[in-house]
């Protein structure tokens, strides 16, 4: 018990060191721990799979480099699944600071899958205005985004023929890190324009999204790196999220162990003070 009480005075740098090693070692030598797709991830996969081949899909990528490790893998996998179905992908960004990153991701996946810009894909770029932009898109997307990320007139792009508003899409995929993001799409768009939404969010935001999943307002949900890794597994990919899951699992076990030991030490401390 006395040794456990000593934990309370442990230099926190030891905890940082162990956490760092537990993350670093599996990245160098993977353990290939088992990974089973959960029902929300399977529902996300099924929602994208249910989109008719060749139809338009709206993908709102509302994140910046701070959320890159969690949201980039799921964005890439989503785009791959959509391109495999020959879907026409319309990308928008409502999160300031994310436009360049999203453009880079979208173009890399398009090149990898042989998707043509302007025909199979368009990135309409960033538009300031948060919920106001979401509501405006319900009236007219070409009027809300008259030019794409590179300043091209959207009226000249073949992919935008027939795109009017949310009614032009059988599915909206919202990949977001915060405000504005999935929550705002559910509040402003799902109820008002009745477009089905599948969402991918950071792990911090995931617990707040489960009520929407339970009520059917979201068709499927990817939560953080674990959600992205499970999605990669369903797509038979081995991407950065899957490669990071060994490290994630070991770090979690260590954090849980620290919580248990910390509580035992605190309990022992209090018992001695009371005696």
């Amino acid at each position: 018990m006395r040794q456990l009480e000593g934990l309370a005075r442990l230099d926190r740098r030891w905890i940082f060191t162990v956490t760092g090693l537990l993350v670093l070692i599996p990245l160098l030598w993977p353990l290939n721990l088992p990974l089973t797709p959960s029902p929300p991830v399977r529902a996300y996969y099924d929602a994208v799979a249910a989109v008719p081949d060749g139809s338009h899909v709206l993908v709102s990528c509302d994140f910046d480099p701070a959320a890159r490790p969690e949201l980039e893998p799921m964005t890439r996998t989503t785009l791959r699944q959509l391109f495999a179905k020959r879907c026409k992908v319309v990308v928008v960004v409502l999160y300031p600071g994310g436009a360049r990153l999203v453009d880079q991701i979208v173009r890399e996946v398009a090149t990898e899958r042989g998707a043509l810009y302007g025909t199979d894909l368009v990135n309409l770029g960033f538009k300031a205005g948060n919920e106001a932009v979401m509501v405006l898109m319900g009236q007219s997307i070409p009027n809300t985004f008259p030019r794409d990320q590179n300043g091209l007139d959207v009226g000249t792009l073949p992919i935008m023929r027939g795109v009017r508003n949310y009614s032009s899409f059988p599915l909206l995929v919202s990949i977001s890190t915060g405000y504005p993001g999935t929550k705002e799409y559910v509040q402003q768009v799902q109820g008002r324009f009745h477009i089905p939404i599948a969402a991918g969010v950071t792990a911090v935001a995931a617990p707040t999204m489960y009520p929407y999943l339970q009520s059917g307002q979201l068709l499927g949900l990817l939560g953080g790196m674990a959600g992205a890794a499970e999605y990669e597994r369903l797509m038979h990919e081995s991407g950065p999220a899957s490669r990071g899951m060994d490290a994630q699992s070991l770090a979690h076990v260590f954090v849980a162990l620290c919580i248990v030991l910390g509580n035992v030490a605190q309990w022992g401390w209090k018992r001695r003070e009371g005696a």
Binding site: V23, P69, Q187, Q188, P240, G244
Partner: protein, 224 residues
């Protein structure tokens, strides 16, 4: 496993700054301070430039220029999304926000703020009512017996948790007796949700560390 270090100067700068930030885990030091100040300064500058080009130029200057150059028909065209002279009004309201710097006319800023707050309050209220309140109440009403033991048990736990948590936030009567027991059960349900939230937060933070280490190992050192 072999090393193939990056030849990209940007990657080297990013790696050096990452290591500067990581050095704080040992203790506060000048390298960390340098990286921190650089990040704050660059972020502020980046967002200022971004706002200028994506808000002021794209949403105000370009449409006004098009409206008054005559290339898009009448400056007072009213079809949504047209380039139009009406944008002078929000431009004026935007300028009025800066009247806060002159105490004698600072009251003028209230007009702009009133419009902003009014519009957003309206937007948020309807969105919350439709998307959160009504839909969540509808989603909470579910049959307790579904024909399957597993889902039925799930529905019962959900309903018990919902009611107990609602009772925990009922403050018009002292939490004693049956109400006290129910509110205590509600507190346990809340603690489970906090625990889930904490677990997800840990996952998010570890993901950031994994992302940085993947960058250092694969993009910078080129480990294969």
């Amino acid at each position: 496993m072999s090393l193939h270090p990056s030849h990209d100067l940007g990657v080297w700068v990013a790696a050096a700054l990452t290591l500067c930030i990581f050095s704080f885990l040992y203790k506060d030091n000048p390298f960390y301070k340098f990286a921190e100040h650089l990040f704050v300064g660059v972020s502020a500058g980046y967002y200022l430039v971004l706002s200028f080009w994506t808000v002021l130029v794209a949403n105000l200057w370009d449409p006004l220029l098009a409206a008054f150059s005559g290339s898009h028909g009448s400056p007072v065209a009213v079809r949504l999304g047209d380039y139009r002279a009406f944008l002078l009004l929000p431009a004026l309201l935007g300028v009025l926000l800066f009247s806060r710097f002159v105490p004698r006319v600072s009251w003028l800023a209230r007009w702009s703020l009133a419009l902003i707050i009014g519009a957003y309050a309206g937007l948020k209220t309807t969105g919350f009512a439709q998307g959160d309140f009504v839909a969540q109440v509808q989603g909470s009403i579910q049959p307790l017996w579904t024909g399957q033991w597993g889902t039925s048990l799930n529905a019962c736990i959900f309903t018990a948790g919902l009611l107990a948590t609602l009772l925990f936030f009922y403050f018009s009567r002292e939490h004693k007796g049956a109400l006290g027991g129910a509110s205590k059960a509600g507190m346990y349900f809340l603690m489970v949700s906090f625990g889930a939230g904490y677990g997800y937060t840990v996952m998010s933070r570890i993901s950031l560390l994994i992302g940085r280490l993947q960058f250092l190992l694969y993009d910078w050192l080129g480990l294969r």
